[in-house]
Symmetry: C2
Subunit: 358 residues, 2 copies
C-alpha cells in the first residue's frame, strides 16, 4: 500500500532560513502544517513565520537529531547544505529531495556530466583542476568562455569570463585557485527557466516557463510568457521531467536554460523552489511553494495552470528602499523578505504584476 499523505498538523522541517524558506513556511501554514526552520545564522527571515526555529551549524549532530525528532519530513530551501547533514537526517526522517539531488547540483561539473549522461544538452565544458587546464579547455571548447568554481557559486559569484588563453593565470587566481569548470560561452537569444515538481508517486507537473533577464549575474526580471515559444515551453517541460525522473527527485526544481540556435541548453538546475517561479504566487491557484509542500507531503500536485500573465522584478540591495513608491501602485504585489540591513546584491524582496492572459 502506498504511504499515506502527511496530514494537516504535521511539521515540515526546512533547512535554510532565507526568503525561500519564508515563503515555504507560509505555504505550509496555508495547508495547516507547521514549519520548523533550521539555519546557522541567527534571526533568519524564515523564522518570522515559522512555528519553531533552530539556530545551529550544519555539522551540529545533537541539534540535527533534536530537530529531526520534532519534524515529520525534512526539506531544504538552499542547495549548499553538506550532503552529510542530509544523510544524518535521513537516518531518522524522510528527506525530500534526497541527498542525490544535492550531490549533483552542488558541483557544476557533476551536474553537467549528469545532464549529458541523461541525454540533455548543455554548453560545451571542460574540468579545470589547475591553471594549465585552462588552455586545454579553450582548445576543447573554444573561446570566449566562462571559468566557474565548481562549488558554492550563486548569483554570478565565482565566475569570470575568459576571452583568450593569455588570461588563464589571472582568472585562475581571481577564482581562488579552486576546482573549476570552463564552459563555452553560449551566444543565446533568450534565457528561460521552468519550475517543475515531482510528487512522491512520481507524478510531474510544470509551471509555464519564464523568460529571464539577468543583470550582473543576478536575476532581474522574470516574464511569463515573455518571448518563450510554444515549442520551447514544451521542450523545457520535457527536459525538466527527464531531470526530475533521473534524479528520483521529490519536490520542486528550477531548471535554467539558454535558447541557442538549435534548441535548449540547460545552464543549471536548482533542487528547490526558484526565484524565477515567484510569479506563481499571484498567477496560479497553487504556487511553487505550496507545490513543493504538496510534493514532499505526498499530496496531489497542482496542475501548474496559470490564470494570468505575470512580470516579477527582484528588489536587490538598496532598491528595497523604493517600497513607498511600489506600495502606492495598487497593481503591484509587493513582497519584502524581512532582511535587515540591505546589502549590495542581496535579494531584499520582489514585486509581481499580473494581467489577464494574453
Amino acid at each position: 500500500m502506498a504511504e499515506p499523505p502527511l496530514p494537516p498538523g504535521s511539521t515540515i522541517g526546512i533547512l535554510g532560513g532565507g526568503q525561500l524558506g519564508r515563503m515555504l513556511s507560509m505555504a505550509a501554514a496555508r495547508l495547516g502544517m507547521r514549519a520548523h526552520i533550521y539555519a546557522p545564522e541567527p534571526d533568519p527571515p524564515a523564522g518570522h513565520v515559522a512555528h519553531r526555529v533552530t539556530t545551529a551549524g550544519w555539522d551540529d549532530h545533537a541539534a540535527l537529531d533534536a530537530f529531526a525528532a520534532t519534524v515529520d519530513v525534512v526539506t531544504l530551501e538552499f542547495e549548499n547544505i553538506p550532503v552529510e547533514t542530509l544523510h544524518r537526517l535521513a537516518s531518522s526522517r524522510p528527506v525530500r529531495p534526497g541527498p542525490g539531488s544535492l550531490e549533483v547540483s552542488q558541483d557544476r561539473l557533476a551536474e553537467k556530466r549528469f545532464l549529458n549522461a541523461a541525454g540533455i544538452a548543455t554548453a560545451r565544458f571542460h574540468p579545470v583542476d589547475g591553471e594549465e587546464d585552462i588552455a586545454r579547455a579553450i582548445v576543447a571548447c573554444g573561446a570566449p568562455g566562462i571559468l566557474k568554481t565548481r562549488r558554492l557559486g550563486y548569483d554570478g559569484k565565482g565566475q569570470i569570463r575568459i576571452e583568450a588563453a593569455g588570461e588563464a593565470g589571472a582568472a585562475w587566481s581571481a577564482l581562488g585557485r579552486r576546482p573549476a569548470i570552463y564552459e563555452a560561452f553560449v551566444d543565446f537569444g533568450l534565457e528561460l527557466s521552468v519550475v517543475a515538481a515531482r510528487g512522491r508517486d512520481g507524478a510531474v507537473a510544470c509551471f509555464d516557463p519564464a523568460e529571464n533577464r539577468h543583470e550582473a549575474g543576478i536575476l532581474r526580471r522574470s516574464t511569463v510568457p515573455g518571448a518563450v515559444s510554444a515549442a520551447q515551453r514544451v521542450e523545457a517541460a520535457l527536459i525538466a521531467g527527464r531531470i526530475l525522473n533521473a534524479l528520483d527527485h521529490v519536490g520542486v526544481m528550477g531548471v535554467e536554460f539558454f535558447a541557442a540556435g538549435n534548441g535548449l541548453l540547460v545552464n543549471e538546475i536548482a533542487p528547490r523552489v526558484h526565484n524565477s517561479g515567484h510569479w506563481t504566487i499571484e498567477a496560479c491557484t497553487i504556487d511553487q511553494f505550496e507545490q513543493h509542500i504538496r510534493a514532499i507531503c505526498g499530496w496531489p500536485l497542482g496542475d501548474g495552470a496559470r490564470h494570468a500573465d505575470a512580470v516579477m522584478e527582484n528588489l536587490i540591495g538598496a532598491e528595497a528602499g523604493d517600497w513607498p513608491r511600489i506600495a502606492a501602485d495598487p497593481a503591484a504585489a509587493l513582497h519584502l523578505y524581512g532582511k535587515d540591513p540591505p546589502r549590495p546584491g542581496r535579494k531584499m524582496g520582489h514585486v509581481t504584476r499580473i494581467r489577464p492572459r494574453g
Copy 2:
C-alpha cells in the same frame, strides 16, 4: 507634517490568535513586518506564523505592558476584547482600530443605535432588559422577530427566533436572562457583505460585495459577484464608507447587509477582517489582510480591484476531514487553519475557487 508610514521591519501586535490573526500575520510578513500575537489560549493558530506569541489574559496588565513594549502598532482580529484592554495598550502605543470601534460593535444595541443615528437603516429593534420587555418589543416591531443577546454573540450563537408573545418566557430563559435586543425579522431576498478599509489619512477603499449564504447561523459560502446588483454594490460601499468615517475607524471592517424590498439594511458590523472577505486572497492583488496591515501602518491602501470572480466555502467542523478530496482539485485554493481537534461549528478552513471575471 503627517506621521510617516511604519517601515518594513516594524512589529505588528495582534490581539487574538485565531485564523484571522493567522492570515494577518502572513500578510504582515509579506510586507516585511513581524507579528506578535497576544492571546489567552495556548498554542493559538496565529502563533504558528508569528514572530512572537504572548499567552496571557486580557486583564493581565504586566503582560499587556510587556507586549506593548515590543510592538509598533496594536491591532485585533476579534472584537470581543475588553475595551479596558485597548485603553491600557493605547496609553503607550497606537491601537488601530481604536476602542471606539469596539465599543459600538460589541453591543448589538449600541451598534443599532449608532447606525440609525448615522442615518443608516437597520431592522426595527427594541431593547430587552427583562422578560416583560419582549411583549412591548413585539408590539413596537412586530412578529416574528429574533431575540439576541446584546454581547458576545457570534456564528448564530445567542439568538432565538420568536413567533409570538407567548414564547417570551422560554426565549428569555434560553438566552440566559441576559441583556438582549429584539429585532424584527427581515424577509430578505439576499444577504450580502462588503469589506471596506479606511487608512490613517481617512482614505476609504472597498472590495466588491459578496453574496453570502449562512447555514445554522454560520457563513457557508460567499460568492462574488453573486446576485449583487450594480446598484447594491454602490449602495453597500457608500454605507460602509459612512460607517468607517463616523467611527473614525482605521483598518478593515466587514459590514453585513440584508437586501430588503427598498434598499439595504445593515445587519451587523465587524471591526476587523471578515470571513466573507477571504476570497480576496486569490482574486485581488492586495487582499483584505494586507489591506488591514497597510491601513494600520499608514501605507497607501489597495484599490480593492479584483481580477477574478470567486466562490469561497467554509470548512466547518468535520468537513475539514475532506481535505484529501479538495486537495485533488487543482482549481481549489485550500486554506487550513491549523486547529486541532475539529469541533462541531468550528471554522477549520476554507476553499476558494476563482474564474475569469464574468
